[in-house]
């Protein structure tokens, strides 16, 4: 074999090495283009929520014990809407006992700068006079006259009711006063106040 022939063989060898390597590598890449897939994953379904909470953790906002005529107590409840679906809120109460007709109740809607059940810390009433009884007042009457069910509940607020949205909060100042009426002697009453949210 002459030197020129050997050089020629080496050149041929180099060409075949490079060509084979090129073919092997590109086959790996181009092979991927011959596969195809399609999927539709990650489909999810979730219902919205309606959730209303307050800050009483089962504590009582109002307490009158061994009360005399004119005795009064005031407490505030902060109510917060946590649901994802905008909802309207209604107010009513479950009331029992013979003292209820002799208790005057005023419910005022507003905000608290430093809410801490049931202290009414920094309470500011809404500026709107909803029922003609003063700014923010949504109910003024006897305890036994307060709506007793959702069907007869107060809309919140009574005029221009709007749906609550997630994170919305309102404070309610509840004030109760015992009337000067001898018929109230020895009587007692209990009340559970309800705020109920429902979406349309």
């Amino acid at each position: 074999m002459t030197r020129e022939l050997a050089r020629h063989r080496l050149r041929q060898l180099a060409v075949v090495v490079v060509a084979t390597a090129f073919l092997a590598v590109t086959a790996g890449f181009t092979g991927a283009s011959f596969s195809s897939s399609s999927s539709s994953s990650g489909n999810r379904f979730a219902a919205g929520t309606v959730r209303l909470t307050d800050n009483d953790v089962d504590g009582a906002a109002l307490v009158l014990a061994d009360a005399q005529p004119g005795a009064t107590d005031t407490g505030c409840v902060l109510v917060t809407y946590e649901g994802s679906l905008p909802s309207t809120v209604s107010l009513y109460a479950t009331v029992t006992g013979g003292l209820a007709p002799y208790l005057t109740l005023t419910v005022t809607r507003g905000t608290e700068s430093a809410p801490a059940f049931d202290t009414c810390g920094g309470f500011t009433a809404d500026t709107t006079d909803y029922i003609g009884a003063g700014p923010g007042v949504v109910y003024s009457g006897t305890l036994d006259g307060y709506p007793a069910s959702y069907a007869s509940a107060l809309a919140d607020p009574p005029t221009g009711a709007a749906a609550w949205t997630q994170g919305e909060s309102h404070s309610y100042r509840l004030a109760v006063t015992l009337a000067n009426d001898t018929a109230a002697q020895g009587q007692s009453a209990t009340a559970t106040f309800h705020w109920e949210a429902r979406n349309a």
């Binding site: 075949v16 084979t20 994170g167």
Partner: protein, 172 residues
């Protein structure tokens, strides 16, 4: 005959070189793959004020071994001492076990405490954090989300994790 032998040698060498290259270089990295997008959301409850309300943490390109953190403060608005329970009611099947959520109490002494470290799956049920708040007390918390090394199926996943905080009275 000699030409065929040279061709065969070239093919064998070429294949060998390719095998060596592939072995040394390893798999070709996937280009354009996105990390997970994770947002942790928290809002006030009647018993607990949460600031800021809304997005407590946002990670746009979270990859295995990486973590992201955010801050929020919680205030006890009740008249009782309460423990803090946390739930994250989210269905993120791809990442139920892949994401670990940590809630740390920033602490007054500067030393962070880690009262809760749980996967999303674990947070489907309420978990007690170990945080206790007196009436009116405010605690600053750090929320951390971590995608552990070796996490799978995270690419392109975008989830919102609603953090539901609940106050549980612990005083008598």
């Amino acid at each position: 005959m000699l030409r065929v032998r040279w061709f065969a040698m070239g093919a064998v060498l070429g294949t060998g070189l390719t095998a060596v290259y592939v072995t040394v270089a390893g798999p070709v990295p996937v280009r354009g793959s996105a990390g997970a997008q994770v947002r942790v959301l928290a809002g006030p409850t009647g018993a607990l004020d949460v600031l800021p309300a809304g997005v407590a943490l946002s990670a746009n390109d979270l990859r295995p071994g990486e973590a992201a953190s955010g801050s929020l403060s919680v205030r006890n608005q009740t008249a009782r001492t309460v423990a803090l329970d946390v739930t994250a009611p989210v269905d993120a099947s791809e990442l139920d076990h892949g994401i670990v959520l940590t809630i740390e109490d920033d602490g007054e002494d500067g030393h962070d405490v880690a009262p809760l470290r749980e996967t999303l799956r674990g947070l489907q049920e309420a978990r007690r954090t170990g945080l206790v708040l007196a009436p009116g007390e405010i605690k600053s918390l750090t929320v951390i989300t971590r995608l552990p090394e070796g996490a799978q199926d995270y690419q392109g996943v975008a989830i919102d994790v609603p953090l539901r905080l609940e106050a549980v009275p612990v005083d008598a």
